[in-house]
């Protein structure tokens, strides 16, 4: 007789082919599970899936919206891969995004009646600085006091959100805003230029693609990318090689924070145009899924960001046409992550049923 519960045994060699297919398998399983959920809710699964995944992108406007949502996701995810490749679990990108929006948006508010070519670059720069500084806090805590970066970076998200809250109801409140918790709008030159007339897709997309390209170059061609990788795979080997791990932790956090900060600034200076409470529908957290779904690879992250952006749009359409709460979008994101981690586990481990006597 075999035991009822399997035990998990490490595989000696993981299949590289399956490694490649993991994201695709997870997405297919998510769709199957999603259909089952729709059936249980009493919807025709084909119609529901169509509403969720096809109809949102069946118009030019829809595709533009897809890129609007994918832009911050991809940018944060590529930043996160600097940390994740180094085995640093920075899950505070949402806070770094918020700080970037505050720093960059602060410049925008300061110069709300200035129209000059330097304003937007200055705001982007300030956004990067804000995110990077916020990212450096857990880096310092980790390297100096050996704290767990998962906890500290996560807790700092809420600190950043409260800072933003305070600013938009307090000192930065729009004096002509009828007491709504929002700031003054930025001037025209403080906004991300739109790429096409009438569509919301903006210059942030170009910045994102550029930074993804740069990151690809860093990961695959430079000694810095190599050091990140080695220290992630095996800290002992990195120590043997003489790589300075403290520096690597600092750089990974600073770069990730800067990217998230730029993403936050791109949101407030792009589609939003001012600062208010809810600048991000959890982009900073969802980007974690994007980073892993894209297997920390620049090209993979581009595709993953589009897939996950679609769950945001689908959730809105589903709410509109099927009267399902938009939280369904989060359910889909959760399912993807669940299957992704599950498939990952099964690639490296197998389940065996021990024989009982």
């Amino acid at each position: 007789m075999n035991s009822l519960f399997p035990s998990i045994v490490s595989r000696s060699q993981s299949s590289s082919l399956m490694n490649f297919f993991v994201p695709i398998i997870s997405i297919v399983l998510t769709l199957i599970t999603g259909s089952i959920i729709f059936v249980l809710l009493g919807f025709d699964p084909v119609y529901a899936l169509y509403t969720f995944f096809i109809s949102p992108i069946s118009s030019t406007y829809g595709i533009s919206e897809l890129f609007v949502k994918a832009t911050p996701l991809a940018l944060i995810a590529i930043g996160l891969s600097y940390c994740f490749k180094n085995n640093i679990y920075n899950i505070g990108a949402e806070g770094q995004l918020t700080m970037g929006a505050i720093f960059g948006g602060g410049i925008g508010i300061l110069f709300h009646d200035t129209n000059a070519f330097w304003l937007l670059p200055l705001m982007i720069f300030a956004g990067a600085i804000g995110g990077a500084l916020w990212g450096l806090i857990p880096a310092i805590l980790k390297t100096k006091f050996n704290t767990n970066e998962i906890l500290t970076s996560l807790m700092l998200v809420y600190v950043a959100l409260f800072v933003l809250d305070y600013l938009v109801v307090g000192p930065w409140k729009d004096p002509f805003g009828y007491s709504f918790p929002k700031s003054r709008p930025f001037s025209e030159s403080g906004r991300m230029p739109l790429l096409f007339d009438g569509l919301r897709v903006h210059f942030g997309l170009i910045i994102t693609l550029f930074l993804i390209f740069i990151s690809w170059f860093i990961f695959s061609k430079t000694i810095f990318g190599f050091q990140l990788k080695v220290s992630g795979y095996s800290p002992k080997a990195a120590r043997y090689a003489g790589f300075n791990q403290t520096t690597l932790v600092f750089f990974a956090f600073a770069i990730c924070g800067a990217f998230a900060g730029i993403a936050g600034l791109a949101e407030v200076s792009g589609p939003i145009g001012l600062l208010y409470r809810d600048i991000s529908p959890n982009y900073g957290f969802t980007a974690i899924i994007v980073a892993f779904l894209g297997r920390l690879h620049p090209i993979g992250i581009i595709f993953a960001s589009l897939v996950i952006a679609l769950t945001y749009l689908g959730a809105e359409d589903a709410q509109l046409f099927l009267q399902i709460p938009s939280a369904v979008g989060f359910i889909f994101q959760g399912l993807v992550l669940f299957y992704l981690l599950g498939a990952e586990l099964l690639i490296n481990y197998k389940l065996t049923y021990k024989k009982l006597l």
Partner: protein, 501 residues
């Protein structure tokens, strides 16, 4: 001493590329302390893991009280009356002693029953315990007591102790021996795994000596001395010497002086006043049984640990004890630590990429932070060709190579840069005979071209074959050096067993 309790017959267990137990056969008598003595890698652990249900033998039978004995898990082994105390404790640090004990027992028992039982055990076997103390507050000896009590709660007939004294202070060792004697008096049997000669003589009744997976001898300890045991444990290893002293210069170019280092960790060995000198072209061997401070010393020699308490390392008239690994490489000092996978090489990376772990000033691998891939690939190909590494190419992952091939590659990487000093730990550990031979050859060749080499190894054959001088490390102390060509094997064995005449 009574009748036979355990018959081990023809147990064979092989792992990929190594036979850990070869037709192991011996009996264990009831009511005695039976030692299994051997160097690291002799097959002791494999054998006890089979007895404790952690490994399954390929062949052979075991009989417990004349009945066939076959277990698939430690829980079954405990049920049949075999308990084991591991070298490394498995206790929950944040829980109390009592809580740890209750977690370890398989049947249901109330706290008060447990307390009664514990009181009984504590007083009978000299195992005082503070039941409410958290594990973190205990010394290594006290933790071991908790482990022993946990096993005794199951009332085992046979108690396996794996290197029990390795983390204990001398006083704690004394008190452990009192416990063991009390256990034997009660009719229990103890299987005592060790490499310490003195302990075998002072506490064990019978000793089984293992070498390279085979039983060399099982006999009563009554007529044995540390010397006779050492000879049997190590074998006659002085046969084929071919060390050549001619090329060694008088000039000392690497000197370690009075290095001491405290770790405050029961699983690490503090280094005590270590000193040695290596001359140009000399191969200096450091022998010793694992866990006597070798890896701690290695980390200090490579610069991976620069937090020493006192002492200095001098190379080319520079004090380098505070230099990290890269700064030492810049001075043409090169290292190969013991562990290939994850230390001297990253298994997930390609052979080419693994070149970049160890860069010397004359390598032209990086310009302005960008990796010059062609140069790295050329270097990798050179190493592969010159050291006859069997691999499909420089883009193969390090993990796809056999141990011997990867070791040839790693050593080739270090040797190719013609270092002035090579510091290498266990150069031929876990690899096949062919690769072993070619690695030893390249080390000898390197020394003849003027490189000084420091070899840390547990393999005495190896040290005697390739080194010019040998010191023995025991419990963080390094003995004075002996000229390899004049050394006596008994002397080495005694030093390795901690017995300094």
């Amino acid at each position: 001493m009574g009748d036979t309790i355990l018959n081990i017959e023809n147990i064979t267990k092989s792992f990929p590329r190594v036979i850990a137990n070869k037709k192991v056969t011996f009996d264990i008598k009831k009511n005695a302390v039976h030692a299994i003595l051997g160097e690291n890698g002799a097959g002791k652990s494999t054998l006890v893991k089979i007895l404790y249900g952690l490994l399954e033998p390929d062949e052979g039978n075991i009989k417990l009280n004349n009945k066939d004995f076959k277990v698939n898990s430690p829980a079954e082994a405990r049920k049949q009356g075999i308990g084991m105390v591991f070298q490394h404790f498995s206790l929950f640090d944040s829980l109390s002693v009592k809580e740890n004990l209750i977690l370890g027992i398989d049947e249901k028992m109330s706290y008060s029953d447990l307390e009664n039982k514990l009181e009984n055990i504590s007083s009978r076997y000299n195992l005082p315990l503070d039941l409410d103390a958290p594990i973190t507050a205990l010394s290594a000896g006290e933790k071991q007591r908790v482990e022993i009590v946990r096993i005794l709660l199951q009332d085992p007939q046979i108690l396996i102790m794996d290197e029990p004294t390795s983390v204990l202070t001398p006083q704690e060792v004394e008190s452990l021996f009192v416990t063991l004697n009390a256990l034997v008096k009660e009719g229990r049997t103890i299987l005592y795994i060790t490499h310490k000669l003195e302990e075998v003589i002072s506490i064990c009744d019978t000793v089984t000596i293992m070498r390279s997976g085979e039983i060399i001898d099982t006999s009563s300890t009554a007529n044995q001395t540390a010397k006779t045991l050492a000879t049997k444990m190590l074998g006659q290893k002085l046969d084929d010497l071919k060390t050549n002293y001619g090329h060694i210069k008088d000039e000392v170019n690497f000197e370690v002086k009075n290095i001491s280092c405290d770790f405050n960790d029961p699983f690490l060995t503090d280094l005590k006043n270590i000193s040695f000198q290596v001359r140009v072209g000399e191969i200096y061997g450091i022998a010793g049984v694992a866990g006597n401070g070798q890896s701690e010393l290695m980390d200090i020699l490579t610069g991976e640990n620069i937090n020493i308490k006192s002492g200095s390392i001098t190379f080319d008239n520079k004090k380098i004890e505070k230099y990290g690994p890269q700064k030492r490489r810049d001075l043409s000092i090169s290292f190969v630590p013991e562990n290939r996978l994850g230390h001297s090489a990253v298994p997930e990376l390609s052979l080419s990429e693994n070149i970049l772990l160890s860069q010397f000033p004359k390598n032209n691998f990086i310009r302005n932070g960008i990796i010059l891939k062609n140069n790295v690939d050329d270097f990798a190909n050179n190493v592969i060709n010159e050291f006859k590494v069997i691999t499909p190419g420089n883009d193969a992952k390090a993990s796809s190579l056999s141990g011997g091939n990867l070791q040839k590659y790693v050593i080739g990487r270090e040797i190719s840069s013609k270092p002035k000093i090579l510091i290498i730990s266990h150069p031929t550990w876990g690899i096949d005979a062919g690769a072993e031979h070619s690695i030893r050859e390249s080390l000898i060749e390197l020394s003849q071209n003027g490189t000084s080499i420091i070899v840390i190894s547990q393999d005495l054959d190896e040290l005697i074959e390739i080194t010019h001088k040998i010191s023995v490390i025991y419990d963080g102390n390094l003995s004075k050096p002996f000229k390899t060509s004049e050394i006596e094997i008994e002397k080495l064995g005694l030093l390795m067993g901690g017995k300094n005449e």
